[in-house]
Symmetry: C2
Subunit: 346 residues, 2 copies
């Protein structure tokens, strides 16, 4: 139900004995309207409790003063820092910022939200993350002309939009080099969600760094999780079951690492004395009551990425001239914590 009409600009105009144009002018603080008329209008607005209808305004002005953000699994604690960044910059902009969440990366739902937002609901959208299954969404975005957007962590070659990226390949290489620097040679990798692009990039970085260091990439040393990072637990178990278990494990992300560590601890291994574990993301808040050692990781500046994305869009929307798309690649960096130690084998 609920569709009683609210009070419109015409009601106010009638009440104040002026035209709707005049009401519009005082509401928008535009042009000069005589002080006494202005006051009459203000009084009428107050008396009637008028607020302008956003849909109507959006329709005529062809803009909404709103920015939409689409992420997968908003509840995931991974987003903590990123959301904080969005929130902070939202506070500093005139744009209203709204979040949409797509559960489990479901394409249909993601497409629904993209279409919804880009058709008169927001002026710009921020898309976080990339799944291999996102193809249809990308195809739709190609055609979009009326909305500006930024993609975070997804470098679609033929899409000329703003891109905020991090160097997953390089970050993974750094991680493996760091482990090698600690004397490890038997280094395993736990791959992440097979539907995520970063998974492949980080795997490639692992393989590349291993080969460059002249280390063999043993097939059994590469374990893959399901779409659920909790399966990092089983992956670690598989590694520990090997005849010659690795002395270090580089995980595709910290959530996975946290479960890998739980598995090792549950079997009585000490971390990092018996086995080193390294993650990626430097995730501030880990899932499911993690209580292991703090995880040495490759950090990406999620807070800044969140801040920047809103700021960039806000600047572009306010600019009168057409701007070239922005492309930023953020640097990753090793954050040493407690889960990696010097190799003790041989």
């Amino acid at each position: 139900m609920k569709s009683q009409k609210g009070v419109s600009i015409l009601d106010v105009a009638r009440e104040a004995n002026v035209s709707s144009a005049t009401v519009s002018r005082v509401v928008n603080n535009i042009n000069k309207v005589k002080p006494e008329v202005r006051q009459k209008v203000l009084d009428a607005i107050d008396a009637l409790g008028y607020s302008p209808n956003h849909a109507a305004r959006a329709l005529v002005k062809q803009k909404t003063n709103c920015i939409g953000i689409i992420v997968n699994n908003l509840h995931d604690p991974f987003f903590h820092d990123l959301i904080k960044g969005f929130e902070m910059s939202a506070q500093q902009t005139k744009y209203a910022v709204m979040f949409c969440s797509v559960l489990g990366g479901d394409v249909a739902s993601k497409e629904k939200y993209v279409k919804y937002l880009t058709n008169g609901v927001v002026d710009a959208v921020i898309l976080y993350g990339s799944y291999l299954s996102d193809e249809s969404v990308i195809n739709y975005l190609k055609e979009i002309r009326n909305v500006d957007y930024v993609m975070i962590e997804d470098d679609v070659p033929f899409l000329a939009c703003n891109k905020l990226l991090i160097d997953n390949l390089g970050g993974a290489r750094q991680a493996v080099k760091y482990l090698i620097g600690k004397g490890h040679r038997d280094i395993a990798h736990i791959c992440g969600n097979p539907n995520k692009k970063v998974t492949k990039e980080r795997l490639d970085g692992y393989v590349d760094a291993m080969e460059k260091a002249g280390l063999e990439v043993k097939e059994q040393y590469v374990q893959c999780t399901s779409t659920d990072y909790r399966s990092g637990y089983a992956c670690m178990n598989a590694l520990l079951d090997l005849e010659q278990p690795p002395t270090a494990v580089f995980c595709s992300d910290d959530a996975i690492a946290s479960f890998a560590i739980r598995a090792a601890l549950d079997r009585g291994f000490r971390i990092p004395e018996d086995i080193s574990v390294m993650g990626f993301d430097n995730q501030t808040i880990l899932p499911d009551h993690y209580r292991g050692p703090e995880i040495t990781s490759v950090s990406q500046p999620l807070y800044n990425i969140g801040m920047d994305s809103v700021r960039i869009l806000s600047e572009r929307l306010n600019s009168s001239e057409e701007m070239e798309p922005v492309r930023i690649t953020y640097q990753t960096e090793i954050v040493e914590k407690e889960s990696v130690g010097v190799c003790r084998r041989e």
Copy 2:
């Protein structure tokens, strides 16, 4: 920038040699339109890449098929379960669901979002939580006629809207009784954010249960945090500095409890052997790398509350008749974990 006009229904009509009414009919699957005409229109839509403008549609239909959710501090891991509930029910409804976040409970920003959403942007809004400072928002809501809404955790007496509540007073009583049952008599309380309504309710429950049990409520046994739950750390330190420290501490929420526990652990106290700590909320994910014992707590069904709120609104919006506002009070329950033990004093 970005305001090139997109393709409108008229462009499609022209392309397909029909009227815009006909295009509208096929887009909305309404009435019967001859199959061959329908196909022509479909082809035109495809060729032009047309998607209906949401603002225009919202304007004429006076509904948006969208539900808005407003919370304070969306990044707070407290919301993990609640967001999951929202997400799950969003998936099961035709409504698009959008989240707005208000940093630190800033009233101006909250009011902005409420006004924004309720004026032609959504059909219904969900408001989570209540701050003492929310008065102006409440006043605005009183006048709202065109939007349905549910308030979670805020029982404003004169507001006849849907309310999903939990019994904070009763829950706090349960907690204190539970501690008394463990033999504790020197029970302290750490109050939460002074701007939150639940803080007062839980304090009242504490006082009430203490008095009913014939236990004195010592002034020094009631410590209050700032608006930041991290100050639970300082509160616990103050309690431990007392000549006769409490043997048990009931905290206004789990985030506070997690910091209280850190303080005790840092001073060498064992939990629960030396001091018992109890929380409220049964929060799945704790902030800032908490590694202490799992916190015995009073749980509220946040996941269900999230689910129910979207479902209830969705049902009401779809119903043709005016419905009485819903009022649900969810039961709290003690969840025994690791942070409370039997009292050892005397």
